[in-house]
């Protein structure tokens, strides 16, 4: 009896394909060592996933964009020409010049600095909100999938309640209650977006816990903790990575949407969504006020979506 596929690699079902990190039924497992027939040495699934990821042009474009934006955003305190709150009213409403590469806004902020700090805000909200969603959704999904019974029942009813609320409206309601601010918007987006991760985690565990290697592990007396940490979570992690990578741009877009509606982040903290909203009355004259934050949002969305798609393809067990 084998304790899952972690004990020894299994042979490939398809000629020429790398080994499947799984038990006898071919369930995936990232941590597994897989023999490389050409080299004659085992390679991990992560190695092959990485290799496939690097071969995808769009994913690489997305990665470059994402890394560029991360450097631009989080490096803003070092790279931006001015602080985000610094304004010179007498320099307001300038089109792009050498002095102000993206121009200035209606009260004289350097617009490049605002876009950089706005990008930082978006990324911060995106990462943090998804972290909150993970903190809420994954343990709930884990508990539901692992224990089943009344735990599963309770979690799923909670999921249904959350699903019954339209996401944006619920977020607007919560923002109205807790008020504007970066911390609050992270909390609200996180609270309203954990459901997908929870359901995915549960679904994965429901699938995996019936696998033969899990049954086998249980049969040899492995504890639930061991089963969960050594067999279930490693095998469930790949789709979760994909889901998380795709949840980040959704969270960023949610922040932009809420800020566009005026209930997200207050001035002077820059938010790309709010910058787009504020540009609306000026767009016919000061095109740069709408264009640059819109481009930044589009690039963020594009970058993360390409990376997410790339990860999905790279970690897809059917590609292995």
């Amino acid at each position: 009896m084998r304790d899952g596929a972690a004990i020894e690699p299994v042979s490939m079902d398809r000629p020429g394909a790398p080994g499947v990190a799984a038990g006898g039924d071919g369930a995936p497992g990232i941590a597994l060592a897989i023999p490389d027939r050409r080299m004659g040495e085992p390679r991990s699934v992560a190695y092959y996933a990485g290799k496939r990821f690097l071969r995808q042009r769009l994913a690489m474009v997305g990665l470059v964009i994402t890394l560029f934006l991360i450097i631009l955003g989080f490096g803003a305190p070092l790279l931006a020409p001015t602080g985000y709150a610094e304004a010179d009213l007498m320099s307001a409403n300038q089109f792009p010049t050498r002095e102000h590469l993206l121009g200035t806004d209606t009260i004289g902020h350097d617009f490049l600095s605002r876009v950089m700090y706005g990008t930082r805000t978006s990324l911060m909200v995106g990462f943090a909100a998804v972290a909150v969603a993970c903190l809420v959704g994954l343990p709930l999904g884990l508990a539901a999938g692992l224990y089943g019974g009344w735990v599963d029942f309770a979690v799923m009813r909670l999921v249904e309640v959350m699903t019954a609320f339209p996401g944006l409206l619920f977020a607007i309601f919560l923002m109205t209650v807790v008020g504007a601010g970066v911390g609050n918007i992270i909390l609200v987006i996180g609270i309203t977006s954990w459901v997908t991760l929870c359901r995915l985690m549960r679904a994965q565990l429901l699938l995996l816990r019936e696998q033969e290697y899990v049954v086998a592990a249980r049969g040899i007396g492995a504890s639930e903790w061991t089963i969960a940490t050594r067999h279930l979570l490693p095998n469930a992690i790949a789709p979760l990575i994909v889901s998380v990578s795709l949840a980040i741009p959704i969270a960023i877009f949610a922040e932009a949407g809420l800020s566009y509606l005026g209930i997200g982040i207050n001035e002077p903290t820059p938010s790309l969504g709010k910058m787009v909203a504020d540009s609306a009355p000026y767009i016919r004259v000061y095109w740069h006020l709408g264009l640059f934050p819109t481009l930044a949002i589009a690039l963020i969305m594009l970058g993360f979506t390409f990376v997410g798609d790339g990860l999905r393809d790279a970690l897809d067990p059917r590609q292995i």
Binding site: A85, A92, F95, N266, Y282, Y286
Partner: protein, 600 residues
């Protein structure tokens, strides 16, 4: 980039066109109207008012009088304007003053109205007089005025209307206006006396209406701009919302409700039974509900005939367009002033030095130059130039921009270079693009000159207003505006009385305003009393005054009439309160033959 030169901004280098007024004209002109108005209110009301008979004529259509030679046919006499749906929850003044479109008041004829020179003139009242002590006011009603249902308009309608407005079960949002003025009104609102005991009653006959005031009230004729009555018969038969349904609508005004598609449009047709003093060429009025930010688009698309307050960037487009710039008008509006206010009962704003530091840290000239342009002028006092008792020039130095002095004052207050000063949130009330920009600029200047972190916190209308009116107030630092309800200093300054809109209290100010308000003597002396009170207000800095508004309007070239001809002070604009029975504007506008035939 092809555009590398510095853009002048939407509001800089504004050319004065034929409809615009420069500041000097504005001050001179409005001062004259203000003084004239004030003297009329004070002296004209107490003595016998000139007989209005000479100004009464019958409406065009009813009398069969010809439209002007260049007017479009009667069926094309349609007035179209936009309105914010946020303020169109009801159509009835006596249900929610602040949530109804003002144009809905066209269904009722007030006792008086304003002419284009801001003079109070007869409307439903043909004449009025005050008692020697200024506490009893008798209005003679037009005996010919009829409701559209065939009932005569009588004193009973006003008596019922005022009683309904004071009913505590009704909880009207405008009771504050009448509470300090009409006998027993405040007590009735509080449920302490029956509404039948308020000081509004019928006189010797059904066409005589009497108001009894708590104190001498020389300004009462001005206040009665807000006196459009409800129909007592309709109140009894249908209830207070009779004017929200075309089938039950009853009107004493020149128009009556035809259709109300909520959040879409509101349409009035001519009230054929109207026999009031307005000669109105328009046959229909259509209000299209749309967010204010879309008004310019609607105007350009020929969907509306008139709009106010274009955004700064839109103003730049207008000024750069030869045709649109010819359609630009500028007036004084309701003498509105925008100001920063503090909760002076709590730290750090309980410290006068802090408030003074704030007042010296804001560069109004820069705000004017870069944001407002023709939309406003720097303010250093509460009463705008032209408003009765305005004293801006004498008060200009009290809160003048002086960043070095501001820093010194803040240091004296215990916050050198802003150290230890708590972060602040500046509340804005449902801000327009201009208000957002001004609020942002104020925050940036406080950061720049005083090293204080200021977050800009926009709130919706209700949240802000509730927090503002809460006792104690819930707004430590806010930005808001105030405009007149009637042209008397007691109205504007009254908002600062203890227990009023703000938390600031000052006994000297209170007594000064109250004494001046009821003062029946020499006009110049009364004005001086108000000016002394305003000086206290400005020097104690419960507020930092930022700018006086000078509203900009766009009117289609096919709209003509006396309302667009310069008034006695050289100001050509559709004057406040606009297309309403509180104004002669409706009788001063018509559609010419140049208008497109398919307007709707």
């Amino acid at each position: 980039m092809s555009q590398t030169s510095r853009d002048p901004g939407p509001t800089r280098d504004v050319n004065t066109d034929r409809h615009q007024v420069d500041r000097r004209t504005l001050i001179r002109g409005a001062a004259a109207t203000g003084a004239g108005m004030a003297s009329l209110a004070i002296f004209g009301g107490v003595g016998a008012f000139p007989s209005p008979a000479s100004v009464r004529t019958k409406a065009f259509a009813q009398a069969g009088a010809a439209l002007p030679a260049d007017a479009a046919p009667a069926e094309q006499q349609l007035w179209r304007q936009a309105s914010d749906p946020t303020f169109a929850k009801v159509l009835d003044f006596y249900e929610a003053v602040y949530e109804r479109p003002a144009v809905a008041d066209l269904s009722s004829e007030p006792l008086v109205r304003l002419d284009k020179n801001f003079q109070i003139i007869p409307a439903a009242a043909t004449e009025w007089s005050g008692s020697e002590d200024g506490k009893t006011w008798t209005y003679q009603l037009d005996p010919d005025l009829m409701w559209s249902d065939g009932n005569p308009v009588t004193a009973a309608d006003w008596v019922r209307t005022f009683q309904y407005s004071a009913d505590p079960a009704h909880a009207w949002d405008f009771t504050w206006f009448w509470s300090p003025v009409i006998v027993n009104y405040a007590a009735a609102v509080a449920g302490e006396v029956p509404v039948a005991e308020i000081g509004v009653r019928q006189g010797a006959n059904v066409n005589e209406l009497i108001f009894e005031t708590v104190d001498p009230a020389p300004y009462l004729p001005s206040m009665l701009l807000y006196s459009a009555p409800l129909s007592a018969a309709a109140l009894d038969s249908t209830g207070p919302l009779y004017n929200t349904n075309p089938e039950t609508a009853v009107s004493s005004g020149p128009f009556i409700l035809e259709e109300w598609a909520r959040d879409q449009y509101l349409r009035y047709r001519r009230n054929e039974a109207y026999s009031g003093t307005l000669d109105i060429p328009m046959q229909h009025v259509t209000v299209k509900f749309a967010a204010p930010t879309t008004n310019f688009t609607l105007y350009e698309a020929d969907e509306i005939d008139f709009m106010e307050n274009p955004a700064p960037a839109e103003l730049q487009i207008i000024q750069g367009d030869p045709e649109l710039s010819e359609q630009l008008y500028q007036g004084v509006g309701d003498f509105r002033v925008d100001y920063l206010f503090f909760d002076v009962t709590k730290a750090p704003f309980d410290n006068l030095l802090v408030r003074q530091a704030f007042s010296h840290a804001i560069d109004r000239d820069a705000i004017k130059q870069q944001i407002l342009g023709p939309l406003g002028n720097p303010a250093f006092s509460f009463l705008a130039p032209g408003f009765p008792a305005s004293n801006m020039d004498a008060l200009a130095g009290v809160q003048a921009f002086d960043p070095d002095l501001a820093k010194r004052l803040l240091a004296e207050a215990g916050y050198p270079d802003g150290e230890g000063f708590p972060d602040q949130e500046l509340w804005l009330r449902a801000p327009t693009p201009v208000e957002s920009a001004v609020g942002g600029a104020i925050g940036a200047m406080l950061t720049q000159h005083l090293n204080i972190n200021v977050e800009i916190g926009p709130r919706d209308q209700k949240t802000f207003t509730d927090a503002l009116n809460a006792k104690p107030t819930e707004i430590p630092l806010g930005f808001v505006s105030y405009g007149m309800d009637y042209l008397d200093p007691s109205n504007m300054l009254g908002v600062w009385l203890s227990g009023g809109r703000h938390s600031w209290t000052n006994e000297s100010f209170d007594s000064g305003v109250q004494e001046a308000t009821i003062f029946l003597g020499d006009e110049a002396e009364r004005i001086a009393m108000f000016q002394a009170a305003e000086r206290i207000l400005v020097e104690d800095v419960p507020a930092v005054f930022i700018h006086y508004r000078t509203p900009v309007q766009l009117v289609k070239p096919y709209v003509a009439g006396d309302a667009l001809v310069a008034d006695d002070n050289g100001i050509a604009a559709i004057h406040w309160p606009g297309f309403s029975t509180g104004s002669t504007v409706p009788s001063g506008l018509y559609i010419t033959q140049e208008a497109p035939a398919d307007r709707s």
